[in-house]
């Protein structure tokens, strides 16, 4: 397989096509507009569907309609746009339709900034829309990982009949790295005749399918929510993914970090190792389900004095880290907002404040 140098945004677009998704609806927003520009040309080459919708609100419902009639579909956006899509995401999840959403995070809140951030962690993992629902959330730390996660996302969306979100950031979207598109991640279309509104003639039957989210009867709505909850519990059993870095040897502190920020932390861990200070990093690859168990296990190692959540925001994942550790270890946060990515030196300084 040949490696090509690609910009993250374009690689994400290409990854969807290689996974067998030929339908894309989107709205321009910095720093991910290149996905739409790339796919406006590329989708035509593969006879796929490309449409620039009139707003992110409209786009989220185009995704819903297309998914509900049984077609594989995805969209990309950035923080404020994902806010606009959040109602649609609540509906799509309630309707148990598969779809892939990519959030190339930028500074917030409000109009914020156009530089990278990790400030949509709560929105992605706790639900930006209303009601009891969860998305499976993936957090790539490189363009290659983004490619593989996008491709895997379609399979998982079909497996769970649930939207999957890829949480990237402006750096993942904008930087260029070598990538390859693994053939084994292209998936065959799934048969959706049992639920999709793909037309009775497609199914060669006389029973119609209905995609809805309204359950006025309280017992029915409760039963529906229990059904959704069971999916998230299955995800928690089967889809915990993380990377353990420098776990051998007596590490004095555990860093928890994801995405772009984790690359800086990795460098900090390496630099500290040279100085003789052992630090470990647990990098969640999926943010939902969150690797609670592995974090608690890693934090309770005898040599480990503290846990440090390093995030490009004002501290969101740190709450899940605290919850995971459940009081067995002190948990701290270090981070920056605004778009300046913390440097390895800044991370090292934060670490040294916590270890003696």
């Amino acid at each position: 397989m040949t490696k090509v140098l690609m910009k993250g945004n374009e690689a994400i677009g290409e990854a969807a096509i290689r996974a067998g998704c030929l339908n894309y609806f989107a709205y321009p927003i910095t720093p991910q507009t290149e996905v739409a520009e790339y796919l406006s040309r590329r989708m035509a080459e593969v006879d796929g569907v490309f449409l620039q919708g009139e707003s992110e609100v409209a786009v989220s419902y185009m995704i819903f309609g297309a998914s509900a009639c049984g077609e594989r579909v995805f969209t990309t956006s950035s923080s404020p746009g994902i806010s606009l899509m959040s109602e649609g995401i609540s509906y799509i999840t309630a309707a148990e339709c598969p779809a892939v959403f990519v959030n190339i995070m930028r500074g917030g809140p409000g109009l914020g900034g156009i530089l990278p951030s990790q400030a949509d962690y709560f929105q992605a993992t706790k639900g930006g829309g209303h009601g009891d629902y969860k998305l499976l959330v993936m957090a790539p730390a490189s363009v290659q990982e983004a490619v593989e996660m996008v491709m895997q996302a379609f399979a998982l969306a079909d497996k769970y009949r649930n939207p999957v979100m890829i949480l990237g950031d402006g750096l993942i979207g904008q930087m260029m790295e070598p990538v390859e598109f693994p053939d084994h991640l292209k998936i065959q279309p799934t048969n959706k005749d049992d639920w999709a509104t793909n037309g009775m003639s497609t199914r060669k039957g006389n029973t119609r399918n209905l995609v809805k989210t309204l359950y006025l009867n309280p017992e029915e709505l409760n039963a529906h929510n229990l059904k959704l909850k069971a999916k998230y519990e299955q995800m928690a059993r089967e889809e915990v993914r993380y990377e353990a870095y420098n776990f051998d040897g007596g590490y004095r502190l555990l860093i928890v970090s994801y995405g772009t920020m984790s690359r800086v932390c990795r460098t900090a861990v390496d630099m500290l190792k040279e100085e003789g200070l052992e630090i470990a990093m647990l990098r969640p690859k999926y943010l939902f389900p969150f690797p609670s168990g592995p974090i608690r296990d890693a934090a309770t190692k005898d040599s480990c004095q503290a846990v440090l959540s390093v995030e490009m925001c004002m501290g969101q994942m740190v709450e899940d880290v605290e919850r995971s550790v459940a009081g067995t270890s002190p948990v701290h946060w270090y981070g920056k907002c605004g778009g300046d990515v913390p440097t390895p030196e800044e991370v090292i300084e934060a670490v040294k404040k916590l270890v003696d």
Partner: protein, 247 residues
Amino acid sequence: MGKTFHKPEALADTITHYCPGCTHGVAHRLVAEVIDELGIRDRTVGVAPVGCAVLMYNYFTFDFQEAAHGRAPAMATGIKRVRPDLMVFTYQGDGDLASIGLSEIVHSANRGEKFTTIFINNAVYGMTGGQMAPTTMPNQRTTTSPFGRKTTSEGMPMKVSELLASLQTPAYISRQSLTRPKYINRAKKAIKKAFTYQMENRCFSLVELISTCPTNWGMTPVDALKWAEEKMMPYYELGDHKTPEDG
């Protein structure tokens, strides 16, 4: 003696929840008859609104999706773009189409999305209990305009058919009425024309239907039909406001 009248196959054999005298029943039947006559039931997907017709999917016997308020045209766009072989229609009221969903319907019409929209104009928000709509008549009392719609602060009623007809993209835009049999017959012809344009993959189509809401207008069904003819129809002109043949 043979059957002289029967329920269309596209209509479910069930009782609806609509109020006595509500013209949704008529509109539903016309849509179902047209779908039967065109033989498209097995490849039709309806998109239901939020409004009194939120449960309309219970009254039809083909695939349906339920949209968020105002978003049916966006969902219909999604379906039609990925499955152009399916016959897709939205069915929306005043709030759904002319208020919260105005952007979606204008952009769908402007892009020339090849689906059909049935627009129920009864000058009021029915399901939520009779609030003012963009289509509410001047001085009309509603639960949120208790002193009557003041055009100086709430503006004039919105003429959706004319608004959409002003777009440059070819489309079929027609306004009809459900207030008496001769208008109902014309309405059915317009609905059939709309779906036929879709079968030809020709253009976007919308049929606006002057409808009544006796419950929220505080009138008997018969008085409501009269009110619609006397107060709404002089303002909301019937007829084809745009056809794809127009230059």
